[in-house]
């Protein structure tokens, strides 16, 4: 095996090991109070953690709100869509 092949294999392995993340994006409609309520009820986060994530979405445009394997993150993103939040599946983070 050439050194190039080894490098490529390592990159694939690293890629597979990366966790997925549920990212919630800022939008002009969802209320700050409602977003906090969603983070508290769905993820069971404390009020302070939920508010911190909500403020991150508000000020930075997005926040990584949960991490895990692809199956879990797709479930989380589907749940965010049920609540009307704008969420996507992202790799890494």
């Amino acid at each position: 095996m050439s050194s190039t092949d080894t490098l490529e294999l390592t990159e694939v392995e690293l890629d597979l090991a990366k966790p997925f993340a549920c990212v919630v994006w800022n939008d002009p409609v969802n209320l700050m109070s409602y977003v906090t309520h969603v983070f508290m009820t769905y993820f069971n986060y404390s009020k302070s953690k939920a508010e911190q994530l909500m403020l991150q979405v508000h000020h930075e445009g997005r926040a990584f709100v949960s991490h895990g394997d692809r199956e879990k993150i797709e479930r989380d993103v589907a749940a965010m869509h049920e609540f009307g939040l704008w969420a996507t599946v992202e790799q890494g983070g």
Binding site: D27, V29, S33, E74, H81, F83, A87, T88, V89
Partner: protein, 193 residues
């Protein structure tokens, strides 16, 4: 994110009573207005339910053979892409989740209308009803905001000024925002205790 003008919070549409019940005080005109907006949401959702979802087998397994990305921006906001840079993954996600998501949003809109139909001068909500009313209000605001082209660049204030006192769609949107804000606060009063 959206916010609610502080002045409007002086009054409360929805409140949690001393006995812990969530009660909305909306007069007949306000109830009729809310019902008509929820009805428009329900019609949009019912109409978006295409042939694939009517196939009994597809309904049974909750998977659509062809779940197309909605062309209507309001529907796209209700059923957004779950992957930003991977069209195939986004399409797969849509095939497996959109039918159930549409069914949930449709049943919430229908249930919210049914709650208003049985209400008198007070709209009394159980915890479960308050949560589905919150979801239905949020979906209605998402659709209305898309129709108003309400983006981070175009603020609600600009739209309200343009409408003046005509009581147009931007004013309706602001009223719905106020309703939702009071409802979410009433619901959270219990969560934070």
């Amino acid at each position: 994110m959206g916010n609610c003008g502080a002045g409007r919070l002086m009054a409360h549409a929805f409140e949690r009573s001393i006995t812990g019940k969530i009660i909305g005080r909306l007069d007949a005109v306000e109830q009729a207005l809310l019902r008509s907006l929820l009805q428009q949401l329900a019609v949009l959702l019912h109409e978006s339910d295409d042939g694939a979802a009517q196939d009994p087998i597809a309904q049974l397994v909750g998977i659509q053979d062809l779940a197309e990305r909605p062309a209507d921006p309001a529907l796209l906001r209700l059923f957004p892409d779950a992957y930003r840079e991977d069209e195939a993954a986004a399409n797969d996600f849509r095939r497996y989740t959109e039918a159930a998501l549409r069914a949930k949003k449709t049943s919430e809109a229908d249930a919210a209308i049914a709650i208003l139909d049985r209400a008198d001068s007070k709209v009394e909500l159980s915890e479960a009803e308050a949560k589905l009313m919150l979801a239905a209000l949020n979906n209605t605001r998402l659709v209305l905001a898309t129709r108003l082209s309400l983006t981070d660049e175009t603020t609600l204030e600009q739209l309200l000024i343009a409408e003046q006192d005509s009581g147009g769609a931007a004013h309706l949107y602001e009223w719905l925002t106020w309703l939702q804000e009071t409802l979410v606060r009433a619901v959270m009063r219990d969560e934070t205790n």
